[in-house]
């Protein structure tokens, strides 16, 4: 906890970026989240979170090659940084710790 706190949405976004492994750019992330989690995500909310996570240093990004698709615009690919991985692991451990602490959960 403390300064490495991740919001729920932030965590999901980072996990999705990790799942896509090198192929994570805006639309792909949204598609992935929509199919896996059945929740609709707007570009606006995703992009602000991506920007915030990048500023915190949990994600890094680079521009891809231009293609004929998407009106010739380049994609920005996101990657989880080492620090990001650490934070994710921490979040997971905390969750697990909490789960394990529950007595007799069915």
């Amino acid at each position: 906890m403390g300064k490495h706190h991740l919001g729920e949405f932030e965590e999901i976004v980072m996990l999705t970026v990790a799942i896509l492994h090198g192929q994570a750019y805006g639309v792909a992330i949204i598609e992935e989240m929509e199919t896996r989690l059945k929740r609709s995500v707007s570009i606006g909310s995703l992009q602000t979170v991506l920007k915030r996570l990048e500023e915190k240093g949990y994600l890094e990004s680079e521009m891809g090659e231009a293609t004929k698709m998407r009106g010739g615009k380049r994609k920005r690919y996101f990657k989880v940084t080492n620090m990001g991985k650490e934070v994710l692991r921490q979040a997971k451990d905390q969750r697990l710790g909490l789960w394990n602490a529950i007595p007799d959960f069915v």
Binding site: Y25, V27, S42, G44, M69, G71, K73, R74, K75
Partner: protein, 869 residues
């Protein structure tokens, strides 16, 4: 829907997106938008995709995505602004002492101005809350007396009825008594008695004055003779709640009168911004029964308020009403006019029938003080900025050399002064917020710092004006330098500029000295009022209400009180003593010229009133309560009355009072039976058993506490159901001058603020001069100058300025303070010492301020100041 060619999305949406999006993110997000649009056209169709695209774009319009305004070429003004801000902040940081002097000066100046604004706004808002405010008027009467007009608000009891019936412009007229006539009266419900202030008013009262009613109908509350309306607090005190009070019966009593009333209405407690504060209202019909129902045009026992028809020309109405009373009553000396009800508070004074100030003078006075204090603080800023100009000349030179226009430099300095003023304003608001409770105690108001539109716009206005005024001179002066000269290091400070700076200091100090003179004189006058010989001895006199069993058995009560150890004498009176009481013009004497009306103060007394108050008898004897004939037809006059009647050797002569011959048995020395604002009036004293509202008791000096205890014990056992509420006459007297006292205290604070701010400026200038002349001082010292001679060298200039300021301030303050004193009939002589004291104190303070700086400068080791070249 299959097509190889990608369907291009609506361009205007993308254009809009590009417009607001942060350029760093625009490419990839636009790509995402297009890709998503393409996917959606395939899945859901073009229409749907377009809508969803629009939604996406709108959802992107959020902080984090929207471009920041930083550093775009289009917004050059912003950059300039930022640059200037930075320069300002740096200059604040570099010239810390000047910055703090300005900040402290402006903050205290603005705080004073804000306080004064709050006070003035509160004063101006008095009595303005009635819905019909602009149509609400009070009837006033001008009495013609020996060629002069005296304006009074007392009117005939039946005037309201006549006015409403006969004057078409008057929609509603309602009569009422002032609550001060009766003071606190007991109201009893079952076993519980509460004392409260009330008055008699006509039945339309609530339709004229829109005090909010909690229960009851505006038109019906006072319609019945036995109806009464009480305040919420009173209802809670008597019945526990406003609801419970409705329809209950209370017993009211005053002197020998008492009556049962049914509570027909409960009104919200009278608000703080109402001059009239009362706890209950009774039907005026009861009062008319008390004073008699026959039409009397020469008795003035009530006030009359009217609501005019809309669009009435008040001047024309006043012209028409002028002779209203004279047309109906033979040899009446009164003319009638109406005056806006809300004006009563601020414009209450009349001189010879013409409106002549009132509290508005204090409002104006303090508004002027606010402006002066801000000016003084602004002058500090001007002086310090221009004096320190040499420090910033390089900056200006470089700026000008690379093409800055004069306008831009002016803008820069104005920005700097506005920045400082804004900072100060924020601090000042905090200061006001912190000190408001104390200020409210001082002024006896309930002001709150409510940030409504008015207050905010006023603060913004004050900040803007102060900032511009303070910044204008430095901005014009500094921006006028010629770059070549500056960069070569040659600046001549022109004679004009030096004069301007000196002139400002003189102006500043003249203002401060004027304020000090004002404070001294106001203080002295108040002191004079408190200690002046009133013609009676106000110390050790106790007053309390005559009520209950005391009133019924007055003589035996007095006899028993006199036997209490420590009680010297006891009397009773119809007159509140410290303020004007009732009066009559129905007194005639031999040789009285026809058509002359003289107003006599009427004092009905009981017991040994004259002895109790210590009034001096100059001829004849005092009234003797043990002689029955003294009650019937004996009278005592004061000296003024005797001289007005022109009676020589008056003892034993008879005069005709209210149609009955009475014999003069004594003359008392003049004493003040009303405010010192007014001259002593002719007065007569009689023995009477009716209408004696107050008991007065003189007790032995030095044992007040014991005597009061004995009196309380006796009173509570004698007069069951009543509490012994007493007050001392001297306190009652002091309470009359509470307005002047508040003004005195307030002005002391503001004058203090003014002089402190002025001194701050002087301090800054002195420090600066000493700093600039450090080399000169060093050389002089090296050549053998003494510390004293250097201090003299440095402070001569300041002494001259302050001296000149004192000279300027003297006539101005004399003129102003004389105007204030003229409002008192009895006042102090203006002593030259008041002015000298103010001047000397200003000089001393200035010396102290400058002296510290110069001394410090003069004691510096010359090797230090000369070494660093």
């Amino acid at each position: 829907m299959k097509s190889d060619k990608p369907i291009s999305p609506p361009q205007f949406l993308l254009k809009f997106f590009r417009l607001f999006c942060d350029p760093k993110m625009v490419e990839d997000i636009e790509g995402d938008l297009v890709e998503r649009y393409e996917l959606r056209t395939e899945r859901k169709g073009v229409r749907k995709a377009r809508w969803l695209l629009a939604k996406d774009v709108l959802q992107l319009f959020r902080p984090g995505i929207i471009r920041t305004f930083k550093g775009t070429q289009k917004l050059n003004y912003y950059d300039m602004f930022k640059h200037n801000l930075l320069i300002s902040l740096r200059s604040f940081a570099r010239h810390k002492s000047a910055f703090f002097i300005n900040l402290i000066g402006l903050t205290s100046g603005l705080a004073c101005a804000l306080f004064i604004y709050l006070w003035v706004a509160d004063e101006k808002g008095m009595d303005k809350f009635h819905t019909l405010d602009n149509l609400l008027y009070q009837v006033m009467l001008n009495h013609e007396e020996s060629g002069m007009l005296r304006t009074e608000e007392w009117t005939q009891v039946h005037l309201a009825d006549v006015l409403e019936a006969e004057v078409p412009e008057i929609k509603i007229a309602v009569p009422g008594t002032p609550k001060a006539w009766f003071g606190e009266m007991p109201l009893t419900y079952q076993e519980k008695t509460v004392k409260a202030e009330g008055k008699f008013v006509g039945k339309e009262y609530f339709n004229v004055f829109t005090y909010p009613l909690i229960h009851g109908d505006r038109s019906k509350v006072l319609a019945k003779k036995e109806g009464i309306a009480i305040s919420e607090t009173l209802a809670i005190n008597l019945f526990g709640s406003a609801e419970a009070a409705m329809g209950k019966t209370v017993e009211w009593s005053l002197l020998q009168f008492s009556q049962n009333y049914i509570i027909e209405g409960v009104f919200a407690d009278t608000p703080d911004n109402s001059t009239d504060q009362f706890d209950f209202l009774m039907s005026f019909e009861v009062f008319r029964d008390m004073v008699g129902r026959d039409v009397q045009w020469h008795n003035y026992n009530s006030m009359t308020w009217v609501v005019l028809e809309e669009h009435t020309d008040v001047a024309a109405l006043n012209a028409k009403l002028k002779r209203f009373v004279k047309e109906r009553a033979e040899n009446s000396n009164v003319t009638l006019f109406v005056r806006s009800y809300a004006d009563k508070y601020l414009y209450g004074n009349y001189e010879n029938g013409v409106q002549a100030g009132g509290r508005i003078e204090y409002v104006r006075l303090f508004s002027a003080i606010a402006v002066f204090i801000l000016l003084i603080a602004s002058i500090n800023f001007m002086n310090l900025s221009t004096a320190r100009a040499t420090r910033r000349t390089k900056e200006i030179g470089v700026k000008k050399a690379i093409g800055a226009g004069r306008g831009q430099l002016i803008a820069q300095y104005l920005e700097e002064s506005l920045l400082l003023t804004t900072l100060s304003a924020l601090l000042a608001i905090g200061m006001v917020w912190l000190l408001l409770p104390q200020f409210n105690t001082l002024t006896d108001k309930q002001i709150v710092l409510a940030f409504d539109q008015n207050l905010i716009s006023t603060i913004l206005g004050i900040v803007l004006i102060t900032g511009l005024v303070a910044g204008s001179y430095p901005a014009l002066y500094l921006s006028g330098f010629r770059p070549v000269e500056i960069l070569k290091g040659r600046i001549r400070s022109s004679v004009g500029e030096l004069w301007a700076r000196k002139g400002l200091v003189v102006f500043q100090f003249a203002l401060s000295v004027t304020l000090i003179v004002g404070v001294v004189v106001v203080y002295k006058q108040i002191e004079y009022v408190q200690n002046t010989n009133l013609g009676y001895d106000k110390e050790n006199v106790l007053m309390f209400k005559n009520e209950g069993k005391v009133n019924a058995n007055m003589r035996s009560f007095m006899a028993e009180v006199e036997n209490i150890p420590g009680v010297q004498s006891i009397g009773a009176t119809s007159h509140p003593i410290v303020t004007a009481g009732g009066f009559t013009t129905d007194l005639h004497w031999k040789d009285k010229e026809a058509g002359v009306e003289v107003r006599f103060n009427n004092m009905s007394t009981g017991g040994e009133f004259i002895e109790t108050l210590g009034i001096e008898i100059v001829a004849g004897r005092a009234l003797d309560p043990t002689r029955e004939t003294d009650y019937e037809n004996k009278i005592i006059f004061n000296e003024t009355a005797i001289s007005i009647m022109g009676l020589e050797d008056p003892i034993g002569k008879t005069v005709n009072l209210w149609g009955k011959d009475v014999q003069i048995i004594g003359v008392v020395k003049d004493f003040h039976s009303q405010s010192l604002h007014d001259a002593i009036m002719p007065l007569f004293i009689r023995l009477d058993e009716e209408f004696l509202t107050d008991m007065v008791v003189r007790i032995a000096a030095g044992q007040e506490r014991q005597v009061v205890e004995r009196l309380t014990a006796f009173y509570t056992s004698y007069n069951e159901g009543f509490t012994f509420d007493y007050h001392f006459l001297d306190q009652e007297y002091a309470a009359q001058y509470v307005a002047e006292q508040r003004v005195s205290v307030l002005s002391r604070f503001f004058a203090g603020a003014a002089i402190i701010i002025s001194c701050l400026g002087l301090f800054g200038l002195a420090a600066f001069t000493a700093e600039r002349k450090s080399k000169e001082i060093g050389i002089r010292k090296a050549l053998g100058a003494t510390t004293a001679s250097i201090v003299r060298l440095l402070s001569t200039d300041f002494n001259r300025m302050v001296g000149l300021a004192i000279l300027v301030a003297m006539p101005v303050s004399y003129y102003l303070i004389k105007g204030w004193l003229d409002g008192f009939a009895y006042k102090i002589e203006l002593n030259v010492w008041y002015f000298a004291a103010a001047g000397i104190s200003a000089l001393l303070i200035a010396w102290l301020t400058v002296g510290m700086q110069t001394l410090k400068a003069a004691r510096v080791n010359p090797s230090k100041s000369l070494r660093n070249e």
